[in-house]
Symmetry: C2
Subunit: 348 residues, 2 copies
Amino acid sequence: MTKQNKTLEYFQPYVAVVPSNIAFLKYWGKSDEALQWPANDSLSMTLSDLHTKTKAQVSEIPEHQVRLNDQEVFREDKVGQKIFKHLDYLAEQLQTREKLIIESSNSFPTGCGIASSASGLGALTLAAVAAWTASPSLEVLASKGFSMDRLIQWARIGSGSACRSLYGGVVHWHRGSCEKEQTVNQAFDESHWPLMDSVVLFSDAEKSVGSTEAHRSAWTSPLFAPRLASLNSRRDAMLQAIEDKNMKFLGPLIEQETLEMHGVIMSATPSVHYFGAETGKFLAWLRERRTALDLDVYFTLDAGPNVHLIYENHLHERVMQLLQETVDSSRILSDHMGAGPVLTVEEV
Amino acid sequence: MTKQNKTLEYFQPYVAVVPSNIAFLKYWGKSDEALQWPANDSLSMTLSDLHTKTKAQVSEIPEHQVRLNDQEVFREDKVGQKIFKHLDYLAEQLQTREKLIIESSNSFPTGCGIASSASGLGALTLAAVAAWTASPSLEVLASKGFSMDRLIQWARIGSGSACRSLYGGVVHWHRGSCEKEQTVNQAFDESHWPLMDSVVLFSDAEKSVGSTEAHRSAWTSPLFAPRLASLNSRRDAMLQAIEDKNMKFLGPLIEQETLEMHGVIMSATPSVHYFGAETGKFLAWLRERRTALDLDVYFTLDAGPNVHLIYENHLHERVMQLLQETVDSSRILSDHMGAGPVLTVEEV
């Protein structure tokens, strides 16, 4: 982009809203860290209300200005490193030296233990590319050659799970056997099977090791190789269960998957315990209560202590009633399957 | 028993042969250590050739004489402690002060990594009670009031898993909800579904923590409570799969069960790794090869690095051919589902 074609449009703020996602089949462990090659396929449900909103605006300043949840972050900060590194990567892809003013905020309380890297890096990718290319919508981006496929590959360089947040509904990230095959697609759209995810927040005091480091250690667990060898059949079973809208089949698969992932994490070197006895007790309580009530609500956990409860929309009231037995309502964040990212432009 | 009724019979050697067993649904963790109360039901297959043969003979000596695999063991020895403690317990139940000469040997090489406590304590229980009561068969024992139910309760005090070796076929140890309900029964006899267990021996160099101590730590794993809450449905599914003789259904259940148990063990405090990368790699290899060959062979591991391969008898030759690809035949011990213990008397 030369100085000459810079119109007012170019300096407008471009706004991306990208939801978080919760994986049923987890992304854990990489085959190649430099190439960001996941060790296995993953499957997730894109959320709606739990999202990151990121505004990016080209400006004639010497360095990017980044504000995250109303706090300025710098290149040297721990959280800033990841953001600036990704901005550098995107700028290199677009061969631009223009700097951006970035404002990003999460719809969920900061530090509440919800992983924000999927929505955060997804929104950063969309907003930055939109600003640098003066593209006010996903359609315009595509017409300029920035197809969703391309944006997804860029987003996953920032954070693997971010690539799954760029579609709505149920999303399948294929590991593939060659680079061309490492693709992401929507397996089912958000209207296929309305599901909810209610997050029960537990203390994250035990999270002593960051997920990047823990990811790296996956191969040191003796459980990791046998786990990988079984994941393709679990993936196929999950896809079938979602196609059939069969929660009694899907539920046990997602619980088995999450306990196995945590088994790998805890048995790796270093051994990491993302959840402790309080969460463990809650999971046992849930299994017992749902059997007693014949209520199809199932759990999954990411690399943290919070429990995501997955169930069909029409059960929401009953699930909330059940949770009242043991959890304070201030510790629950409810969300549902959503339609994916939105890109707009803010008129100035 | 008074001096007067002591006939020659009383001083004969009574011989019990008790096979080992391999659990499909594992006994791991106790609700109460003093009462030897298992945290969950377990299900196992009784083996045949892998057994312990124990001879017990009343003798007018001041202390029991115990020989194990041709080595004398004493009350103070690590392995002797468990044996003498159990002899003291049995003597108390029978209110006898008579001493025994015990000779015990395993049909499998000592120190090869096969757990011998199930067959060992089972055979010790049967042989000692037979000698003290001059009972040359299980029928005579029962006629004297020492029913299998009673012997089983005594054997499980010596070693939990020993109680499952006192029946042949597929055996179900019920946790129960009161003491009367902590029973053991034969779920299917050995003719119902002829299965094999071929053990692949790996180095046990990593076994740094004994299984008694590791058992004790089960509750410290955050995975233990959610595991327990799901075991009854897994037990029911396994019993159904065995009734249906459906290996494609049973196999994944037993693999899931063993990886979950090891996940608990590895995530407990202290963290124990009973198997390492070599075994893990073998398990992944097995899963991949059996898919490629469509060969129904499944793995399970006890608290050690050795892999038990479970399959239907008619597949034995194909399984051995498969193993030749990666394992030296000297590291394989093959056995099949057996009929349970045998009690005889050796004429002197």
